[in-house]
Each structure stands twice: as C-alpha cells, then as structure tokens.
C-alpha cells in the first residue's frame, strides 16, 4: 500500500466551505495521523460536522483539498478502510441487529466476524432483536458495532457516547483504546471534554471555522495558566480576593475554592495567614477550562 507509514490517514488542506453566508470552514488544515486519536473540539456551529461531512465525501469543499488515505473521499477503496458512527443514524425499526451487521459487513473486504463485532460493542445478546425495540443506549452500541464491522484503519466517532450510561461509556472507551493500540486512527468529536481528556493523543480546537489550537491534551491544558486551589479555612473571601493573581473565589460553608494564575504565591499567603488551614488541594485547570478560555479569547478577538 502506497500510503502506509506516516502519511496522514485523513487530511484537510486549506479547506473552505460555506453554506450561504455562513463560513462553516474558513481555511482549515487538519491531519489525522496513523494510529492516533485526534479529538476535534469546538462550540456548536464551529464547523465540526462540516469537517466530518467533507472527510466522508458527503459534501464538497468550496476550495482546498480533502484526502482519505491519500485518495479522494469518494474513492470506494479509501472508504473501505473507514468506519463511521454518526451523531444521528435512525435505522429501520423492523430490521434485526444481525441483519444490520450483515449488511454493513458485506461492504468491507476483511470484515470482523459478526459475533466478535457484536461482542466487542457489548450487544452480543441483542443480535436477534429488532432495532426499534432497543433502548437509546443499546441503539448507540449497535451503531458503534457497525462502525467497527469493517476492521477500519480510520474510525470517525461523532459524539459516540451521548445517551450511554457510565458503564457503557467506559466499555466503549476501552474498546476505542484497544483499536488505537492496534494501529487504528480515530477522529473523535465530543461534547464531553473528559472524554477527549481520557482518550485523545492530540486535540484540535475549532472555533468559527478555524483551527485555533492544536496539540496534546497536556499542551492544550498548559495554554491556560489557571489553577484551582481548594481548602478549608476561616479566612474571609474578601481578604483572599484582594491578593495578587486571584481570579475568582467562592465559599461554600467553610470550604473555599480559588481560581488563580499564581498558585504558588497564593498558597504561600494562605498558609501564612491561616495556620489552621486544612485539606489543601491544588489542581491544574482541566481541558474544559482550557477549551473555554481558548474559544472565548477567539470570540473576543473576533468582536474587537
């Protein structure tokens, strides 16, 4: 295969796409590298769905180039290496899961055995049931089973765990991790930032049709200097609020939570001012805070 090695599994090159007056994608470059899980994050309307539609050949870019394994996303040969789980895919209610699996497996040259597929997706006991009789969470798992049925080298997961309970979500995460460990590339979009934090090798943040941040989860988090300090203390919030570097403070009974850019100096002051302070905790801001800050900065710049 010509595109084995380190060539990207999927690629957007200087892609523009607008719908009427709306610039859904405004010059986007994006690579999904082999064997990596890339989480594509962004507020609603940022262009995530458009990016996925283009990569799946469901829409055409106005400018730029879209590649799947170095080929056009319309090439059957490239698409046979891709598995898809879309956000909404209501299947015919009267078909049995076994039939849905058989139809999808037939599209691929080296499909996973139907049993293995159902078992991996956690629907081994549902194959004789009709799709319409399943719960929302079970339907989601069927959609995941169809996504992995063709032993994909690249998997598109669009909000895969919406509607799943915690246990099913954890199970899906561990399956995805196993696939990635096996060399499968994954493009994930999700509203749950802890999902991206748990799974992603790399994160790309899309806002207003442009990639505004890209890097490992750690790099993205490091873009935000904020840290969160929690403790039990009798100090008055007004006192702490006046210290340099304190962004916000909130008090719940005797517990205090401080968000700050200068955790070390604030901790030093806390310990000096309140010798009776207990349960001190310092946490780096999570992906959620980083994401909020990056996208809000972007929107503020746009407005300026």
């Amino acid at each position: 295969m010509a595109n084995a090695g380190s060539a990207p599994s999927a690629r957007l090159i200087a892609v523009r796409k607008s719908y009427g007056a709306v610039n859904a994608l405004d010059g986007v470059d994006l690579d999904v590298r082999p064997g990596e899980l890339l989480a594509l994050l962004g507020p609603n309307g940022a262009g995530k769905s458009t990016a996925i539609s283009l990569l799946l050949g469901l829409a055409e870019p106005d400018a730029g180039e879209v590649q799947l394994f170095g080929e056009s996303p319309h090439a059957l040969d490239a698409r046979r290496r891709v598995g898809v789980m879309l956000q909404s895919a209501g299947m015919p209610d009267t078909l049995k899961i076994r039939e849905l699996l058989a139809a999808t497996r037939a599209y691929y040259p080296h499909p996973l055995a139907a049993d293995a597929c159902a078992k991996t997706a956690g629907i081994g006991d549902l194959v004789e049931r009709r799709y319409g009789k399943l719960s929302e969470g079970q339907k989601r798992r069927v959609q995941f089973a169809l996504a992995i049925a063709g032993r994909p080298r690249l998997l598109f997961l669009d909000e895969p765990t919406v509607g799943l309970d915690i246990e099913a979500r954890q199970a899906l995460w561990s399956t995805v991790r196993a696939l990635v460990a096996d060399g499968c590339s994954v493009l994930l979009t999700t509203h749950y930032l802890e999902e991206a934090e748990a799974l992603a090798d790399r994160v790309a943040v899309l806002a207003r049709g442009r990639i505004v941040a890209e890097g490992s989860v750690r790099q993205i988090r490091a873009r935000v200097a904020q840290r969160r300090i929690r403790c039990v203390s009798a100090l008055a919030p007004e006192t702490i609020g006046a210290w340099p570097g304190v962004r916000s403070i909130c008090r719940d009974g005797e517990r205090i939570e401080i968000v700050t850019d200068a955790a070390e100096s604030v901790v030093r002051l806390l310990l000096r001012e309140d010798a009776a302070l207990t349960e001190l905790e310092v946490q780096r801001a999570g992906l959620a805070e980083a994401f909020m800050e990056i996208t809000q900065n972007e929107i503020a710049q746009e407005a300026a």
Binding site: L56, G57, L58, L76, R79, R80, V82, V84, L86, Q87, S88, A89, G90, M91, P92, T94, L95, E99, A102, A103, T104, A106, Y107, Y108, P109, H110, P111, R130, L146, G150, R151, F156
Partner: protein
C-alpha cells in the same frame, strides 16, 4: 491486519451486497404491518368482493378477467408509491441515508435494492391475484397472457417508484403516507382501476390519459385480451416519460439537499 484474515475472508462481492440489501428492504417492509397488510390484502380483498361475489354472470364483460388486470395494477402501485415514498422519506429524516452514503456502499445499491423490493412485492401481488383468479374467479388464460400480465406488472412499478421517490424528497416521513394516499386512491379511481372507465362520467373518461395508472391499466387489459383503449406504444412512452420526469425532479431535489 493479520495475513490469515486477508486470505481466508472473501473479497467484497457486489452481487452479495445487492442481494442482502434487497432482502433487507423487503423484510423491513414485510415486517411493518401498516405497509404489508394493506399492500398484500387490499387488491385480493377487492378482487374477491367485486370480481367474484357481485358481478358474476354480467353479460359481455368478463369482470373476473378485467378486474384481475386492473386490481393487479392497483396492487402494484402501492409498493412503488409507499415503498419508495415512505421509506426514502424516513431514511432521509432519520439519518439512515447519510450513514449509508458515508459507509462504503457501492453507489446505486440503495435505489437498486428498493427497486428490487418493489418488484418482489409486485410479483407477490401478481401471484396472490393469479391464485384467486384461477381458483374462485374461474379465470382461464393462455400462458402467454399470464406472462404478458406478469411483465406489465413487474415493470409497471417503475413510474410509481419514481413518483414515490419524488414525494420522499418533498415531504417528511410523517407526512409521506398521507400525501401518497391523496395521489394513490384518486388516481386509481380516475384511471378506471376500480370500475371500468365506461361507467364513469364523460369528463373523467376524457382526462384519464393524464394519469400514469390509466396507461398501465390499458396495457394490463390488453395483456389479458380485454378491450382496451389507445396504442401500446403510446402507453409505454407515457409511462417512460413519467418515470424520467419524476426521476429528474427527485435527482435535482437530492442534489440540492
């Protein structure tokens, strides 16, 4: 990907994909009672009521043969109109069509499987009516006439598939059954499928050639040697034109969506 999997599993087989998709389309609708029951039962029920019970022995007019042809046409319109109209509207609305387009399904398999489904239903309706006609209907026809009627009904689903497809691009899955009934039932009546055109008011007789079902009805009547109007060629051209026009409209609507 391990080497043994590569060599022991079959390559993608197009005939297998088409066969599976068609089977699933057929099963999907067969298992939906709101579709399967009226589609398979109504033509048979009407035939028993009007051709066997009521008009037995009317002179000069073979109701049992005439209605075999026209109720056959009435019957096969349903899988075309409803099978395409409702299922495609549903597939569009619920995202199934998008998923199918995103999966590596060979282009053409989607519509081809629905067409096969409609033809399979048409063949089933033909078989049910033929069975009723030859047993309780007392119909005897030469083999060639049966064959001609079969071909008219099997290929006669095409224009109605095109109309159904077109409706599916215009309305939601919820609205599709109602819209299609408004097309289906009046057109069947006005085309002389329920009762001969000769007993309808003159105005209705004159505008009958506007309806595709009229042309298919005349082809079916001539297939079984019953009196029919117009030329075979004109009927076939009218049906082909209907198919082409509605397909073109549906194509444009899909391209825009």
């Amino acid at each position: 990907m391990n080497a043994s999997a590569r060599f022991t599993l079959p390559r993608v087989s197009l005939p297998r994909i088409y066969a599976l998709e068609s089977k699933h389309e057929f099963l999907r609708l067969l298992r939906a009672p709101q579709f399967a029951v009226p589609t398979l039962l109504f033509p048979a029920m009407f035939y028993c009521l009007f051709a066997v019970l009521f008009v037995k022995g009317a002179s000069g007019f073979h109701a049992n043969i005439y209605l075999l042809a026209t109720y056959g046409v009435f019957g096969i319109m349903a899988p075309g109109l409803f099978g395409f109209g409702v299922s495609v509207a549903f597939d569009r609305e619920r995202g199934w069509l998008t998923l199918k387009r995103a999966q590596p399904m060979p282009p053409g398999a989607y519509l081809a499987s629905k067409l096969a489904m409609a033809m399979l239903f048409a063949a089933t309706i033909f078989a049910i009516l033929a069975l009723l006609a030859t047993t309780i209907g007392g119909v005897t026809l030469p083999l060639a006439a049966w064959l001609r009627l079969f071909l008219v009904e099997i290929f006669g689903v095409l224009p109605f598939c095109a109309i159904g497809l077109c409706v599916a691009t215009l309305v939601s899955g919820q609205a599709a059954p109602a819209v299609i009934n408004v097309i289906y039932l009046p057109m069947s009546f006005l085309s002389g499928l329920w009762m001969p055109l000769s007993v309808l008011p003159p105005l209705m007789r004159e505008i009958a050639p506007l309806w595709p079902a009229y042309h298919l009805g005349q082809l079916a009547l001539s297939a079984v040697g019953q009196p029919s109007e117009g030329s075979t060629l004109i009927h076939i051209l009218a049906l082909a034109a209907t198919t082409a026009i509605f397909l073109a409209v549906a194509r444009r609507r899909f391209a825009r969506a």
